[in-house]
């Protein structure tokens, strides 16, 4: 039994950690109140109090932006815990839910905004809340899918003996969910939350200043601030925005993710040897502050109490092999096929009625251009970052510095830097077809770097000694030792980078500086233009094509490559 008694407060009035915790908690409350103010204000207020480029307003804007991120994250978490659980528990539902998730993952995120913004504005007519909904939903779509996937996968891979133990001690389904399934999925989920967050930052900037046809909304936030700065060609303001974002991401990292990662360490079933337990001052603070201890104990008790309150299923039936009836299966499958055929027919009908075949062909051509860009850029980034990553990964001290930096860079919304690049392109009249391209990979190349670093540091010391012992050096060393060893890691990184670059294309292929627009030929620019014009059918055509390309490339290229690398080169 725990030797400490949590409720003895008075022995000592407060520890240092209590004071620290108190300040942080109050700060959070003030922040929440501050940033949720104005949610119910009428939409017209947005135009009556226009955004200002005064840097003094930035903390407030940053708070609003952060709040949206947090709301999106909470929504994604709720979605994950329900959708993924449903998909994993019901074999029949899973057959439909998992592929849907897979497709949703490859739909470009900005696509969701352009299609749903009108709907959300209509939810709370004339109020800021509606626009906030649209923005938060966009963030949600950038975070939810991979989180749900990771949780689904965790649910499917719980060790049999753990489920059997839960079963044989007759945990109720509710208790089993909170005591076994959620904790088991937690480490992967937290990791995916971090990845999601990076994606979210990218799109929070794009989702605050929404223009779809006639509808144009600029919510107060860092994203809108940037948009305004671009319109007014104010480079200093952009500098301020970048600085603010750096601080916000740093705070998120220190106050949310580092503590989470350190905390979640205890949920790992298997502890790989040599993995250093991450530390976090914020987690130390929480653990050492008795205020927060009492709060977590209360939460724990609540979980147990709800477990007691929720009724246990009456007849304990073994879940292991309740097989659904074949006829029902058949019915389910035919129902699904019917729905798919109907939807397909509908989409095709709408597209045929409103777009020409020539346009469809043209869009495919543009998609090929974008694809070419993505592949070339991935290749280029690989040429640069793989050798650097291997070099760094082999040197633990360098890795300790570079690894977090690379992760930080991946989290930083690269589109904040776009204006600077566009400024240069306009200034020196560079070819946008070439010079806009690197922007697509600006934010995603870091995935390649930090995965390769992770791979290189995982090369067993003995393998390196063998190479040294037989004097394997130079190109031979790269070919036979380093590259094969990091390949599985590299592929993981490249897949993430490729997906991210497709998404970024929409933002990167069409950029503006003041009144000047620079445009690269590609599918991203096509979608961006259709969005600005509010041309619904072209948006659907563009987004559909992009999703199709991403899915097909994943299936035909990345996935086989991934399995090949895992099978042949994974060091176990």
């Amino acid at each position: 039994m725990k030797r400490f008694e949590p409720y003895v407060f008075l022995r000592e009035f407060a520890t240092r950690w209590d004071v620290l915790a108190f300040v942080v908690v109050i700060g959070l409350i003030v922040f929440l109140g501050e940033s949720s103010r104005g949610l119910l204000a009428p939409l017209s207020q947005l135009s009556s109090t226009p955004l200002s480029l005064d840097p003094a307003r930035l903390p407030q804007y940053a708070a609003r932006t952060t709040f949206r991120m947090l709301a999106g994250l909470v929504l994604s978490l709720i979605f994950t815990l329900t959708y993924a659980t449903w998909a994993a528990k019901s074999e029949r539902a899973g057959k439909l839910l998992v592929p849907i998730l897979d497709i949703l993952q490859s739909v470009p995120i900005l696509g969701f905004i352009s299609i749903t913004v009108v709907f959300f504005l209509s939810l709370a007519p004339g109020r800021v809340l509606g626009a906030e909904f649209a923005s938060i939903f966009a963030i949600f779509t950038s975070q939810a899918w991979n989180m749900a996937f990771s949780f689904y996968q965790s649910l499917r891979t719980i060790p049999t003996e753990l489920t059997e133990a839960a079963e044989s001690f007759r945990l109720s389904p509710w208790m089993r969910f909170w005591q076994l399934e959620v904790p088991f999925g937690m480490p992967a989920l937290i990791w995916n939350m971090m990845m999601s967050m990076s994606g979210g930052w990218f799109f929070v900037v794009a989702s605050e200043s929404i223009t779809v046809g006639q509808t144009s909304v600029a919510l107060p936030g860092v994203g809108s601030y940037i948009a305004l700065a671009i319109a007014q060609k104010n480079l200093t303001a952009i500098g301020w925005a970048i600085f603010t974002m750096l601080i916000v991401i740093l705070l998120y990292d220190q106050l949310l993710f580092r503590p989470l990662v350190a905390w979640v360490d205890r949920f790992r079933v298997e502890q790989e040897p040599g993995v250093r337990v991450p530390d976090s001052w914020a987690l130390d603070m929480m653990r050492r502050s008795r205020l927060i201890q009492a709060a977590t104990l209360a939460f724990h008790a609540a979980v147990l109490r709800t477990s007691r309150a929720v009724k246990r299923r009456n007849a304990a039936t073994p879940v292991a092999e309740t097989r659904p009836k074949r006829s029902l299966d058949l019915f389910w499958v035919s129902l699904m096929i019917a729905v798919v055929v109907l939807a397909l027919w509908h989409i095709v009908a709408v597209l045929i009625a409103n777009t020409s075949l020539r346009e469809a062909l043209q869009v495919s051509g543009l998609a090929f251009l974008t694809m070419l860009r993505v592949f070339l850029l991935i290749a280029l980034a690989s040429l640069i970052w793989v050798p650097i990553g291997v070099w760094v990964g082999m040197r633990p001290r360098a890795a300790q510095i570079v690894q977090p930096a690379a992760q930080f860079m991946a989290a930083f919304p690269a589109n904040l830097l776009f204006p600077i690049a566009v400024f240069g392109i306009v200034r020196w009249r560079l070819d946008p077809d070439i010079y806009l391209s690197p922007l697509m990979i600006l934010g995603t190349q870091w995935y390649i770097l930090f995965n390769v670093i992770a791979g290189a540091s995982a090369i067993p010391a003995e393998m390196r000694y063998v190479a040294a012992n037989f004097q394997v050096a130079g190109w031979l060393w790269w070919r036979k030792v380093a590259l094969p060893a990091v390949l599985p890691f590299y592929v993981t990184g490249a897949i993430t980078a490729s997906g991210g670059s497709w998404n970024a294309a929409i933002v990167a292929e069409l950029a503006s500086w003041g009144d000047t627009q620079v445009r690269a030929r590609g599918l991203g620019a096509y979608i961006a233009e259709a969005t600005t014009a509010g041309d619904f059918h072209r948006i659907v055509l563009g987004i559909g094509t992009m999703s199709l390309f991403v899915v097909v490339i994943n299936r035909l290229f990345w996935r086989p490559l991934y399995y090949y690398a895992e099978r042949k080169y994974r060091l176990t």
């Binding site: 725990k2 753990l162 044989s168 205890r266 092999e321 097989r323």
Partner: protein, 434 residues
């Protein structure tokens, strides 16, 4: 024996449906009863269905036919009076020792003070005092399994099910834990009335059980029941203990009934292309032949003796011995292994000669090897896809068994240089790639 049994299995049968609609039979004709004060051992090799039976009793699976009843009532789902200890401990890594132990009581919605009292008592009993707030990862394997025991005992079960609880531990730790458990059991300090222990360790079964049910494989069934009436604590070196161990070895290597004097074929009924072959490396085969050929055995070895000499469990030793028998390098019967002429020759030969002997036996006695070789010889390209043979094998066995069988053949054939295999392209060929 006048009281009614705690637990009774009658004519239990368990089969799993296969994708092609047929079924895979794992257990058949299981009859078992557990009475108060008994430890019953289920002894057999992996794949004999003993763990499956334990899961049926635990209510984690349902029998396809027959009945499992606890205190006279049929079991449907996990019963409150039956608790289980798992091979891999199955502790929740995110809960402390105390929380792990308390979990079963939480599930029963017992009042908190009662939970605390009983959990602490169980922790105390099993010797985990002072570890209450530790997380499983901070504990050694032995301590973790103690938590497993405490967690099972805290719910005050009538029956304790143990699924190879000591097999994931090192020899010394396992012995300590067994002794501690037996002490508590014979002093009557545990709330349990009967125990079922699954094991593949013959000595462990003789050491702990009052009755041992010896399981046979394909499908799992009870070969024989052995009563152990030695008084506790038992001594491994006691002649009557050794005698029992020897007897069980004989049981487990006995030929199926009706094959008296019938030669070796009956050991492998219908040994055609369709028999499942075990995963045994040529190093193990050679090693066992060498060990049996060398003094003090000089060609004939007592299995328990050589098992303890080589520090092998029956699960490891039996497949090797049986493979030697299948290849006609040795004869296994009555708890002994006796090398045949070629077995002795192999043991004394040098590398190239060994390969020649091995190749001869492989082609003659393993029809699948002969078959693959013939196909390769007949084809102009002298090569064939792996899937071709897998498809053929799957007419006889599960997908998994087909893969394992083909892997075994590849392994042996590579050693004997009967044919080559390229894993990258999943191709068989006659020549080794350059």
């Amino acid at each position: 024996m006048n009281e009614s049994p705690l637990l009774q299995c009658s004519d239990v049968r368990k089969a799993f449906p296969k994708p092609d609609g047929s079924e895979l039979l794992v257990l058949e004709g299981m009859n078992l009863d557990l009475r108060e004060g008994q430890i019953v051992g289920l002894l057999g090799r992996s794949g004999s269905g003993k763990s499956t039976l334990l899961r049926l009793i635990a209510g984690l699976a349902e029998p396809s036919a027959g009945k499992v009843s606890y205190l006279g009532h049929p079991i449907s789902g996990p019963a409150p009076g039956i608790a289980m200890v798992f091979q891999s401990f199955a502790l929740f890594p995110w809960l402390t020792v105390f929380e792990n132990v308390a979990l079963g009581l939480e599930a029963q919605r017992m009042p908190r003070p009662e939970i605390r009292k009983r959990s602490l008592a169980a922790i105390d009993l099993i010797g985990l005092d002072g570890f209450e707030s530790a997380y499983p990862r901070e504990l050694s394997g032995g301590m973790r399994q103690r938590v497993g025991f405490a967690r099972a005992l805290v719910v005050h079960p009538n029956i304790l099910l143990m699924d190879e609880p000591f097999s994931a531990l090192d020899v010394l730790t396992a012995e300590t834990l067994r002794t501690d458990f037996l002490d508590l059991w014979s002093e009557g300090r545990m709330p349990i009335k009967g125990v079922i222990l699954v094991t593949h360790n013959i000595e462990e079964a003789v050491l702990m059980c009052d009755r041992i049910l010896v399981f046979g494989s394909n499908p799992g069934r009870i070969l024989s029941e052995i009563k152990v009436s030695l008084p506790q604590p038992r001594n491994r070196l006691d002649p009557s203990f050794r005698e029992l161990v020897e007897r069980i070895y004989v049981e487990m290597t006995a030929r199926p009934q009706g094959s008296a004097g019938g030669g070796r074929h009956e050991r492998f009924p219908g040994l055609g292309i369709g028999s499942v072959l075990p995963k045994v490396s040529t190093n193990l085969l050679a090693g066992l032949m060498e060990a049996v050929a060398a003094p003090p055995f000089n060609g004939t070895a007592d299995l328990p003796k050589i098992a303890s000499d080589l520090q092998m469990e029956i699960d490891e030793l039996f497949p090797v011995a049986e493979t030697l028998q299948m290849l006609r390098f040795a004869e296994v019967e009555g708890g002994d292994i006796k090398l045949a002429e070629d077995g002795l020759a192999f043991a004394h030969a040098a590398v190239d000669e060994r390969k020649r002997i091995f190749m001869r036996h492989l082609v003659t006695y393993v029809p699948l090897v002969a078959h693959v070789r013939r196909v390769l010889d007949e084809r102009a390209s002298h090569s064939a896809r792996k899937s071709r043979f897998i498809d053929e094998l799957e007419d006889f066995m599960s997908e998994e068994a087909a893969e394992q069988t083909l892997r075994a053949v590849i392994r042996w054939a590579r050693y004997a240089e009967v044919f080559a295999y390229d894993d990258e392209n999943a191709m068989f060929s006659l020549e080794n790639p350059t």
